[in-house]
Symmetry: C2
Subunit: 353 residues, 2 copies
């Protein structure tokens, strides 16, 4: 076994604290990664604090993982020692169902094995995430990171990146289209960068005029303030696609009115009940759709990383030491980050040494 | 002007009563139709009683109209005197917007002109519907009815028929697919007939075991009782398309669980707020969509009529005299009809004579 140092939550109410645990030695298809950076996703906070009533403790969060390969199993072909590698939200799946065969492991019929707050397949062993110095993952669930990218700003691509890239690809966003990205946070800022790089005319849609100031820097062609009724009316029935990244319940109806006939709004953030309620007429008049999308499969995650390398895309990040993770969670609750915290795992090694 | 006899509502609380009014003489592009049959759509009741707070009185309901052409304008090419003709929910639209140019007049950017409870374009003149003995409509909004079809059972095709045919076509229902039709009423019974004729494996999904008895006669291959939790679980993630014809607010989440990945449930009946609320996870896990669909364009309405002629499809109807329309409304409120009331307009002529 490998001894691993990290930070863990032990219950819903206490801060994360240093935690030492063990991981398996790499098997023939496994990759062992020295973790360099680990992004802080809002869902880390939700799970560490058991907001979703499914917490398994001790919990080592983190599913936006970038590091260097230090060991590979005998049958590993995708990566070699010294490569930079990434791990996202999943570390396993059934590999036999239709979704897995279609490279959409996130929709595995048996349920994918999440990187943390889950149990390894066919075992009671908890999975432990990226707030740690080492991880061992089967190569199917590891992506290769080109050395040309700024590694610390790559970490959020593994969740925030693929969560926005995948629906933009699935609904075939491209040149000649007007695309709205609703909500500006970890997901939204990536959605803007991707939609722009795919060639669309990109409108950042936000409740906050303050956030609009970042719009053009991030790549947006226009800003639409959703609380401005006249502005919303001026954009009525003009969008080819809406990527809705808002992570809390909100009124979808005003956004549906922005869509052209036969177009779709994809939800990637709101996991809760949709309130106030959607009305049937928002869908029926104009034959519109509300859809959802979850992260992306491993093949598409690699495609997204390669797309980022090609277009020079990374996340906007603020680097924090692991010792500041609890403070970062508090700031996250106030949306006080542009646009993603990333833990520099060197801070853990220094402390351990 | 043409003097027309019909039945009208004069306020939200009184029964429909005999009403005489005038229609324009047919212009060069108009068709004048002697109305033979007029279906009773549930929306007739809603509008006559002002349930949607948009009633314009006096109101002559009826948008499932079948009759015989008695006069045509000089430029009419589609129909000639003596033909059987149908008129549905619309009698006009802007004809210039993208939707109209795409033969989807129901999504006209300016709003289509509805057959009743509306005003004629550019005029204060109210439109009057099919509970009457004559109607004059521009030929674009008239379909030709093959004489081979049972005319009295054709009337409901003009609304209930096209409302179900159009989404089944749009979402490309066909052989090899498992399709669910949710709700068994005027719309649902047509959805079953169409989906079967298109070659799908059709499952009638209903809350009521009683209604299931009609399933095989209507063409369903299976019946699924939506209140049977075990049966619903057995069908989880197995449907390629769901046509939801339920006309009142209801919980969509159990139906979303029936869909396969990347599939759609189309709403055609529920115009209200969707309560209890849809949850984001019902869409996100499996990349599923909820969509809406409204009737169909005029070209597709003609296609639907021709499809019915080819496949011998008509509605299951109960014929009533116009004098029984108020009683029919009361029975409609109790779902006491299999599956559509149709008014035999000869009853009006007898009374007038």
């Amino acid at each position: 076994m490998i001894t691993v140092h990290g930070y863990a939550a032990h219950d819903a109410h206490s801060p994360l604290v240093p935690f030492t645990f063990e991981r398996r030695e790499p098997g023939p298809h496994d990759v062992q990664i020295d973790i360099l950076y680990s992004g802080i996703c809002h869902s880390d906070l939700h799970q560490a604090r058991d907001h979703w009533s499914n917490a398994l403790y001790p919990m080592v969060p983190g599913h936006e993982i970038v590091g260097r390969v230090v060991k590979v199993g005998a049958h590993v072909t995708k990566l070699k020692v010294g490569d930079f590698a990434g791990v996202g939200c999943m570390v396993d799946s059934c590999r036999a169902c239709e979704a897995c065969r279609d490279d959409l492991e996130q929709y595995c019929a048996e349920g994918a094995t999440w990187t943390y707050n889950a149990r390894e397949r066919g075992s009671d062993q908890l999975t432990f995430g990226g707030y740690s110095d080492q991880i061992v993952v089967e190569e199917r669930f590891v992506v290769k990171i080109p050395a040309s990218l700024d590694l610390k700003a790559v970490a959020p691509l593994l969740c925030a990146g693929i969560t926005t890239y995948s629906p933009l690809r699935h609904w075939q966003v491209g040149p000649g289209q007007k695309v709205g990205v609703i909500g500006l946070g970890g997901l939204g800022h990536m959605g803007i960068k991707f939609a722009k790089a795919m060639g669309a005319h990109v409108v950042m849609i936000t409740t906050s005029p303050d956030k609009g100031r970042d719009a053009s820097r991030l790549g947006a062609d226009e800003v639409l303030i959703s609380r401005d009724v006249d502005a919303m009316a001026a954009h009525a029935q003009s969008f080819d696609f809406l990527l809705n990244t808002i992570p809390v319940a909100h009124d979808l109806n005003p956004y549906m009115a922005l869509l052209r006939r036969d177009r779709t709004m994809a939800l990637v953030g709101v996991l809760t009940e949709i309130e106030p309620p959607l009305t049937g007429t928002s869908l029926i008049f104009g034959r519109k759709s509300v859809a959802g999308s979850a992260i992306g499969g491993m093949a598409e995650t690699q495609e997204m990383i390669d797309f980022c390398a090609e277009h020079g895309i990374v996340s906007d990040v603020e680097i924090v030491p692991i010792q500041a993770v609890n403070e970062a969670y508090e700031r996250l609750l106030k949306n006080d980050v542009k646009y993603r915290f990333v833990i520099d795992m060197a801070s853990l090694r220094t402390a351990v040494a």
